[in-house]
């Protein structure tokens, strides 16, 4: 979409310009006596602006602008924060356990943000391509309905095939029991469902016409269950990365405040 391409182009342009300006300013003013304090405060202010995005999400009824604009600012300012962080460190490695922990927290928050951005931009397209939209909270109920349907076909009053009943108990019951193949779905592998469908297909040799019709219905339910697992895996991934990014952000903010207190405590403050 052109709109998103334009957003990307303008964002990148702003990021490159801001980075070049910051590096030029660093080169020119890094010898100033309180330079580390200055860059530290700027870095802290930018980090607070980044966290305000979450506050914006919690206050949707206030006219605080579109979340889309906030996210764009969050993304590009986030990348710029990495530049500011390196400038604040004066491009040297951190030392001491506190500084190293702080640096690690910063790196993990940044990395989880980048991973989240990657997930947000790639997984929705995969979900849409696969089709069969399902609301995450309703997935257990849908899975239960599929399990009941399969159980009735294989073991219900109308079912009269010992071959299918045995196969269901051995192979299909565990498959329908709960979510399956999280990692394989995340990496777009269809190996397990193909194997299961192949096994179902093999049973056709030992079944009559009526039983084959049941096998067809079971195969359709297996495909639906696999689609549901796929949606669960990808939607869960889209939700879980935030459970890494946000707690780490809070940790980083706590360490940052401690860092400021310690710096002022042991330096006597800015004179």
């Amino acid at each position: 979409m052109k709109r998103f391409r334009r957003q990307f182009f303008l964002g990148m342009l702003a990021l490159i310009a801001a980075t070049m300006a910051a590096l030029w300013l660093h080169k020119r003013f890094c010898a100033l006596p309180d330079y580390a304090f200055l860059t530290g405060w700027i870095l802290f202010a930018v980090m607070l602006v980044l966290t305000f995005f979450n506050a914006r999400k919690k206050l949707p009824f206030l006219a605080l602008g579109k979340a889309e604009t906030w996210l764009q600012i969050h993304i590009y300012l986030g990348f710029f924060t990495v530049v500011l962080f390196l400038i604040h460190l004066n491009f040297r490695a951190p030392h001491g356990w506190f500084e190293i922990t702080l640096a690690w927290l910063f790196a993990l928050v940044s990395a989880s943000g980048v991973v989240g951005l990657f997930f947000s931009r790639t997984l929705p397209r995969r979900l849409a391509t696969r089709g069969g939209e399902a609301i995450f909270e309703k997935i257990p109920a849908l899975r239960h309905a599929l399990k009941t349907g399969a159980e009735n076909l294989a073991l219900g009053k109308e079912a009269k095939s010992p071959v299918i009943a045995e196969f269901y108990t051995r192979q299909l019951a565990p498959f329908f029991e709960g979510p399956k193949n999280f990692w394989l779905h995340t990496f777009e592998s269809r190996r397990p469902v193909s194997a299961l469908l192949a096994e179902l297909d093999d049973l056709r040799r030992f079944t009559n016409e009526a039983e084959r019709a049941t096998l067809d219905k079971l195969a359709a339910l297996v495909r639906q269950k696999d689609g549901l697992d796929y949606h669960r895996a990808l939607q869960l991934t889209l939700k879980l990365w935030l459970f890494v990014h946000i707690p780490l952000t809070y940790g980083l903010l706590v360490f940052t405040v401690l860092h400021i207190v310690l710096v002022f405590g042991f330096s006597g403050g800015v004179q």
Partner: protein, 575 residues
């Protein structure tokens, strides 16, 4: 052995009478009253005799002084004949929204907006007892089957508004009923013994069909009250003189197609998956001689073209749009190479039309149009399959054939503010749902789920329809448009939970919710049944900044869009 089929009586038109309690004595009295006593019963076919029309398509309603009969802005399906007593129509100024049971429009103030910060932990849909009392100036009287809302301070209403009395024998509401337009005035009872005959549109249509006097009377009113102003506002007639407009108005024909109660039928067809263009009533058939230019006054129609054994949708048109002008203009300018209709026009749901006959077009309208306003001549291009004209490409090119069919099949062109989600960008984070809940009593007013076509989803949120069938039959006027052609909103304070709008909505966008008191307990009536209210998306009409759902989407995946106009959708899909 195959199972025996279930045999039942074929459903008939009058299976559900308007008033099942209509008695023979009441019918005798009606038949002895004007205008029915002057109607020739012999002219009515045996299938639909006059007496049975009255028995099944009408009901007698009684009102006390001050009770509202119809409200300005409401959509109605019936006309009224005053049998006894008097009614009064409010001319100017119109009654304020609060007196009609509607919300006074207005945004939330700063403190009310801020209060949502600490209201977030309250149970959903909390009402205080005082809020549930009727708004000042408006009362309600419960009769056996219905609720009558009345104006409490009637002398003041009469004092502040110009009104006019109508008495026995007067008809009103017939134009709104037949053309499915909003009622233009509020009418209330002006005596305690007001007795009115309410005739639903099917009955009125049949009465007009078989009684010349009634047809002439209604057509005259239509031409006088509605047609001239409508023609004056239509671009095609802009260059005509007043006399010419009057001549056109005299010769225009009216027609209605489809089912007025299409929403119920559509729900049934959609559930069975059998919505097919081939089953829709044909207004004009591809290949036929163009008899006139069709002007859509209300409803929607599908432009389609034969393709193989079926019909492919090329576009849909709504109120104010034309069909057949290009062919008639071509034939007028190219008498040697006339063409027939290039496409078919089919009614979707209910359609009310004006037809300007070809002769009138050629003699009066087309000569008045400047050359640059005449449509281009038709060029018949033979494609590989034969002599079939190449399809009109506009709408299909804009959004693609698949989406066009999808919007038409799901009747989504009715939407003026549908919630469209781009599934390629939606991370299913539900920020839109949470934003909606935060803005509306902790109860989201939509489901992030709905029909999809490719990566396009139209979520289960109120579409704020161009043809809002939900507004038909609300007894208290709680569901209404916020402004002319504006958002459709529900005033929770005057909603009585009758489910009329909930049952009418063909898109399942209205939900009944059980309300709670300040302690979080469900409110119940004397019979210990929970009190419910209808809720739906109100497009955050009270909030600043527009719909919260749209503002809350961090990925730009959700928008509220007018599907009457495909340009907006096309721009959003390919911005």
């Amino acid at each position: 052995m195959p199972a025996a089929p279930t045999i039942l009586e074929r459903p008939q038109r009058w299976d559900a009478a308007f008033d099942p309690d209509m008695t023979d004595a009441a019918l005798d009295r009606l038949l002895a009253t004007a205008p029915f006593r002057d109607m020739d019963a012999e002219k009515f076919p045996k299938r639909t005799p006059l007496r049975e029309i009255l028995r099944n398509d009408s009901r007698i309603r009684r009102f006390r002084q001050g009770e509202i009969i119809v409200r300005q802005g409401d959509y109605g399906t019936s006309a009224f004949l005053i049998l006894r007593g008097a009614t009064r129509v409010v001319l100017k100024p119109h009654l304020p929204p609060a007196l009609l049971g509607r919300q006074s429009p207005g945004k939330k103030g700063f403190f009310r907006t801020l209060a949502q910060l600490w209201n977030g932990s309250r149970p959903a849909e909390t009402f205080s007892r005082t809020r549930l009392r009727q708004a000042a100036g408006l009362g309600a009287r419960q009769t056996k089957n219905e609720v009558h809302v009345f104006l409490q301070d009637l002398p003041r209403v009469m004092d502040e508004h110009r009104t006019e009395q109508m008495t026995g024998g007067d008809f009103f509401g017939e134009i709104a009923a037949l053309s499915r337009m909003a009622r233009t005035s509020t009418i209330f009872a002006d005596s305690d013994d007001a007795e009115l005959l309410e005739i639903r549109w099917q009955g009125l249509r049949d009465l007009m069909k078989y009684d010349d006097a009634l047809r002439t009377h209604v057509n005259k009113i239509y031409r006088e009250r509605a047609l001239s102003s409508y023609l004056n506002a239509t671009p095609m007639f802009q260059h005509l003189t007043k006399e010419q407009v009057d001549r056109v108005a005299e010769q225009i024909e009216f027609a209605t197609y489809g089912d007025y109660d299409w929403s119920g039928e559509y729900k049934r067809l959609a559930q069975s998956g059998s919505v097919q263009p081939e089953k829709e009533p044909v207004i004009a058939q591809e290949g036929d001689y163009p008899n006139g230019v069709v002007l859509l006054r209300a409803g929607f129609a599908r432009i389609s073209q034969k393709l193989g054994g079926g019909e492919r949708t090329l576009n849909y048109i709504g109120a104010g749009q034309l069909f057949g002008l290009r062919e008639i203009s071509h034939n007028w300018r190219n008498k040697d190479s006339p063409v027939n209709l290039q496409f078919s026009l089919r009614a979707i749901g209910y359609t009310h039309l004006l037809i300007v006959p070809t002769r009138v077009m050629e003699e009066i309208v087309l000569p008045s149009l400047p050359k640059n306003e005449l449509p281009e001549a038709i060029e018949i291009v033979k494609d590989e399959l034969g002599s079939q004209p190449v399809a009109e490409k506009g709408a299909r090119e804009k959004v693609g054939a698949e989406i066009l069919e999808f919007l038409t099949e799901n009747r989504l062109f009715n939407a003026t503010a549908s919630m469209v989600i781009d599934l390629d960008r939606c991370t299913r984070c539900d920020d839109c749902v949470r934003a909606c809940a935060s803005t509306h009593d902790n109860n989201p007013r939509f489901l992030r789920h709905g029909p999809t076509s490719g990566s396009l989803m139209v979520a289960n949120a109120c579409l704020h329809c161009a043809d809002p069938v939900c507004m038909i039959g609300c007894p208290t006027g709680a569901i209404h448009r916020e402004s002319f052609a504006g958002q459709v909103v529900i005033n929770p304070d005057t909603c009585i939970g009758c489910k009329a709008c909930f049952n009418n909505c063909p898109y399942d966008a209205i939900r009944m919710v059980e309300i709670r008191d300040e302690t979080g307990e469900f409110m119940v009536d004397q019979e210990m049944k929970p009190i419910a209210k209808a809720t739906k998306c109100d497009l955050c009409v009270e909030s600043h900044g527009g719909p919260a759902c749209e503002r809350a989407c961090p990925h730009g995946a959700l928008t509220r869009i007018n599907l009457n106009n495909l340009d907006a959708l096309s721009k959003w899909l390919k911005p």
